[in-house]
């Protein structure tokens, strides 16, 4: 499928008032969102590199290209796209941008919006539109790239993206620090690590259920990834060893962390100020709810709860919502709850429209006047 095929599918859909569900590979981020569409427009076979000049550290690919394919292509030139959203590597870059999905590397390398240089999309009238460009710095025109990022395909179908790459680190090592002892000891250890002058690529706190699921034992852990040249990694390992007892673990553990979502029927992201997580994380981690995976990225100010990955029934979703509301009450009052994935029947009850303000509705009308692109996916 090329852009022209997307154009004709959208034009046909507009003419027949038949809404489209827009999908990447459909293997990922099946978030259970209530889309009112009978037809699916899938971009999974529109994949491949459009242009890649390694010396420029930029890459243009078709939207259906999988993240693992991007990893392979850039890896051949010792480069990488430091974007590790939760889910499988078979997910597409188009879906990653459309859903603004990010993972543990985001606290160092930024969110998808920060790595995106430009894109091509087809709006709800079938017009091919480009925003941004292919160079690393660009302020020409109004920013359509940011507008489409996280719009869940409701403003246009992304067909091509250009991304900023980085050199793969010469050294990339991961360590686990077991968070045992009392809640107080745990809190002081977490604070010690986070306020030290370390600059890890990723830092994630896992509760014991999550730690067990990724094969890191029965205790809550702090997972830390150091990257860069050899001296900077060694200096940081030394620094960490002075405040904790780090155990090296394989870098592949991050793949398992990303797949924690895999079987969950409910994923909830709580966003708050970093300090609030710093204050609350020891308590959250020590109050382990069996079967609920909790991962906290205190630097990014994000907590994710996965429910149902170990096969509980649908009530888990409700209990997780309860747990996140508890967090709301307990010290994280300046927080937002973002539902990433819910059982389909629960969506309408718990998640209001996130595009109900005048500006969002105006933009939706302008870009998808026939309301045919993923209607309902944002609660609209």
């Amino acid at each position: 499928m090329r852009t022209e095929a997307v154009v004709s599918a959208i034009k046909e859909s507009a003419a027949t008032h038949a809404p489209l569900r827009v999908a990447g590979r459909s293997t990922w981020l099946d978030a259970g969102r209530p889309v009112r569409a009978d037809k699916t427009l899938s971009l999974h076979d529109d994949s491949g590199v459009v242009s890649y000049v390694p010396g420029d550290l930029t890459l243009t690919v078709r939207a259906g290209t999988s993240l693992s394919e991007i990893e392979r292509v850039t890896g051949e030139h010792d480069q990488w796209l430091p974007l590790d959203p939760y889910g499988s590597g078979e997910g597409t870059i188009g879906a990653t941008i459309a859903t603004a999905s990010a993972g543990p590397l985001a606290s160092s390398f930024g969110l998808p919006r920060d790595l995106l240089l430009g894109l091509e999309f087809v709006n709800g009238r079938g017009d091919v539109v480009r925003g941004g460009g292919k160079v690393v710095k660009n302020v020409a025109g109004f920013d359509l790239s940011r507008l489409l990022t996280g719009a869940w395909g409701t403003l246009g179908v992304i067909t091509e993206v250009t991304l900023r790459l980085y050199a793969a680190p010469a050294v990339d090592r991961t360590f686990a620090v077991v968070l045992d002892g009392s809640e107080r000891e745990m809190a002081s250890l977490i604070r010690g690590i986070i306020t030290s002058p370390l600059a890890p690529y990723a830092l994630l706190l896992l509760n014991s259920s999550a730690a067990r699921a990724v094969g890191l034992g029965e205790q809550p852990v702090c997972l830390i990834r150091f990257g860069g040249n050899d001296p900077v990694v060694r200096a940081q390992i030394n620094g960490l060893s002075q405040i904790a007892r780090p155990e090296e673990t394989e870098t592949a553990v991050w793949v398992r962390v990303r797949q924690l979502d895999g079987n969950a029927h409910t994923t909830i992201r709580v966003v708050s100020l970093p300090q609030r997580f710093l204050a609350a994380s020891a308590r959250i981690l020590s109050e382990d709810v069996p079967g609920i995976h909790t991962c906290i990225d205190p630097r990014r100010g994000v907590l994710r709860l996965n429910v149902g990955a170990e096969g509980e029934d649908g009530d888990g979703g409700i209990s997780a919502i309860g747990a996140s509301q508890d967090l709301h009450k307990n010290g994280a009052d300046a927080s937002d709850v973002i539902f990433e994935k819910l059982p389909a029947e629960v969506w309408r009850e718990v998640s209001p429209s996130v595009v109900s303000d005048d500006l969002s509705r105006g933009i939706k009308r302008a870009f998808d006047p026939h309301h045919i692109l993923n209607p309902g996916i944002l609660g609209d």
């Binding site: 709006n123 710095k137 020409a140 719009a151 937002d336 303000d357």
Partner: protein, 509 residues
Amino acid sequence: MTQPTPASTPAHPSLAQSPVAERLAEIVGARHVLNRPSELLVYNSDGLPGYRRQPKLAVFPGTREETIAVVRLLADEGLPFVPRGAGTGLSGGALADDIVVVGLHRLKKIISLDIENRRATVEPGVVNLRLNKFVAPHGLLYAPDPSSEAACTIGGNVAENAGGPHCLKYGVTLNHVLAMTVLLPSGDVVELGSKLGERDGYDLRGAFIGSEGCFGLALDITVKLTPRPQTVRTLLADFMSVDAAAHVTSAIIASGIVPAALEFMDGPTIRVVEDSIYAAGYPRDAEAILLIELDGLEAGVSADLEAVRRICLDGGARNVKVARDDAERMKLWQGRKKAFGAMGRLAPHLIVQDAVIPRTRLPEILDTIHRISEKYGVVVCNVFHAGDGNLHPNIAYSADDPAESERVHKAMTEIMQACIDAGGSITGEHGVGLDKMGYMESIFSESSLNAMCELRGVFDPERRSNPGKVVPIHACKEWNAVSGDRLRMAAGVSEPRPLEADPPRPSAQ
């Protein structure tokens, strides 16, 4: 509402002495409304000499409430306006052609500073450097550092999505703004983004940043602050050829090291700086210098410093000098940051470009620029953010000499075309404004420009906020005849007038 002015007479012939001026004065105080042509002269240009537009009236609200009242009054009257910060922009974006300037420099409160969570909320008129000085004692910095940092405002930075030398590593304004309270041209107040950093729904904050005043104005801005790096090292490498310095730039980027900054200055720029009060001790006989800054954890920086020094020497650098202390670093930076100002020594007018090219194309494009400058007999001073591929080929000239002006503009058009042909962008950080509007159609298709018009139409359905900028009006399919007429009546213009310094459209050949 006032009676519509008949279309046959100039719009608002008496705006300057009109009830509108009086009512604005009631809101902000008479001394904060300027309406005499002589007083308004100061506001007839921005940082880019060569464009002059005389505003009809300028109003300077001193508080958030006054700003809202001013914009609501203008909305009720259907009057177009131009939000303006410090007027340091380099694209003619803050010019008001016979309409109202809403100057925001009096809104300069730092509203809150949250040291632990590393964020600050400021009013739009807060000067960039002032914010940096304010947070420095806490070991923090606000990363975007335009060269005009000593004067430019955070509100203006948001409007332009401003960059600066250190954006190579740290990113531009877009990457550092979390949330804003925005005053729409209608007078409505909306919250965009989230102080928590992430939220569901459309990224309206992302859409607003870089909208060049066309979507309204920010009443407050919440920015992310960055911890000061443990170690900062600054190198000066000098070269006897531009080509060698360009190849070294590409080689550093390709090596994967991300310097905090990687700046390029060519021979003519070096000599102009060294002749000025900003002399930084650059070698006058060099044909190019690279100013390279590395920062981060000490161990990593030392290793990268060695690697960069090696790349420079292998690539033909004559000397690589490392600044010994902060004072020396500051001096090296002073020359770079004031280079545009120093060019004022050469001639009264300066044409500034801001194109971006893929970084591997740097040697070839610099060679092309050199050939174009010889062809037209003009002196191009290249001083730019090499690490980002963000060029600033500048030509000092006298706009009073028509023959020289013509040669200069032809040369610049050819340079821009070469950058576009290399797959680049027409502007990396200065914005489109008036100056680069003529090039928009050479990088965006009709439907892309139309989508931009539609986006703007949502924020500003009457196109009253900074009219006639960024996207050429004729590119807007949905240009609404009714609101268009209303705007024309109000502004007294039909299409943007031909500009004296307007770059000619790139020819098709």
